[in-house]
Symmetry: C2
Subunit: 205 residues, 2 copies
């Protein structure tokens, strides 16, 4: 095992431990000390890998997003139709947000404070749009849909999916973290829109 591999392993372990703490207690209630203790690491060594909590938090969010993309790609490979795929993805997204509720990922998106996650989340949306374009192209090829411009349709679909999240937030809930009831309403609306979207693009054959 090379020095680089050992370093990568250590970094991996730190991200895993931090993910557990962040997900359970939330980033604001987690200290670097606690993460070091969980791993029986010296604080100095922890700071060698991650100079501050913000950089560790970013690495954790990156990890979570990678897991998310692995999961949706796997689901897409196994679903039988484009309709089933899109509806399943809505549930995966819902479960994902609920699982990492305490991470404040949703809050960050709708917050106006200087959000260090902005770029990560923006890139994730771009990545999911490309993924969506592939799904629609595949549905086109299979004759399930008739879409002239799959990228444009994917962008539109992603805009609408993300948009629903914001538009149902009334004045009272706007800056709050998404609660479970609101998440359920969003989930239901996203499914209704998906059904419309599919109906609109359904092949005439």
């Amino acid at each position: 095992m090379s020095q680089v591999d050992i370093q990568d392993d250590k970094q991996e372990l730190i991200v895993e431990a931090a993910l557990k703490r962040f997900a359970h207690y939330g980033p604001s209630k987690t200290t670097m000390n606690e993460i070091a203790d969980d791993l029986h690491l010296s604080k100095a060594l922890l700071y060698y890998y991650f100079p501050d909590k913000a950089s560790l938090f970013k690495a954790v969010v990156d990890r979570i997003l990678n897991n998310y993309f692995e999961e949706i790609e796997c689901e897409a490979n196994h679903a039988k139709s484009i309709e089933k795929t899109l509806l399943t993805l809505i549930d995966v997204r819902h479960d994902f947000f609920m699982k990492y509720y305490n991470m404040g990922l949703n809050r960050n998106i709708i917050d106006c404070t200087e959000g260090s996650l902005d770029e990560i989340i923006y890139n994730a949306i771009k990545r999911e749009t490309i993924f969506m374009k592939k799904l629609l192209t595949k549905a086109n090829d299979k004759g399930e849909m008739q879409i002239e411009n799959p990228l444009e349709a994917a962008e539109l679909y992603m805009d609408v999916m993300a948009g629903v999240r914001f538009s149902i937030l009334t004045p009272n809930t706007r800056s709050a973290i998404l609660d479970e009831d609101t998440a359920k309403v969003i989930n239901r609306k996203q499914k209704q829109i998906t059904e419309l979207f599919i109906r609109a693009y359904r092949s005439i054959n």
Copy 2:
């Protein structure tokens, strides 16, 4: 003319004058003094009608929204099809936001600061949803569309229209006032979604 009528007239004149100033210079760059001067009113009399700038601003926004509803109702009465109606309404909304650009109406919606407009805008969205429900019901009756639950469809459509506005706001533009280019992108996306919406609900007959 009764005392009440005269009072109403005066109030009306103040709102008209304030609207002009607010729309041109923006609320933050308009003073109560300037509005009083425009009307050759004493400051005391102006404050008799509106105890502070915030209450006058609310009255102006109320007026603008009433004008908006009058306009969309008129457009809806004259358009030949539901498709034409919905597409026209998007342009009316676009022009309306651009006309009152300096009022910061858009900013207020996406801002996290304590927004006194929250309730007014929330009510306006509710009012437009009811209006939309009527349009869809009419389209149903004319056989243009086949919608089982027009209120649900109207809510969904309104969510999506509002949502697009938020979802295309990237990290860099999120808390800024909507600029004209962004407004054009939103306008285009809203029309694309409207076409999909209509196609999905189009009557089979």
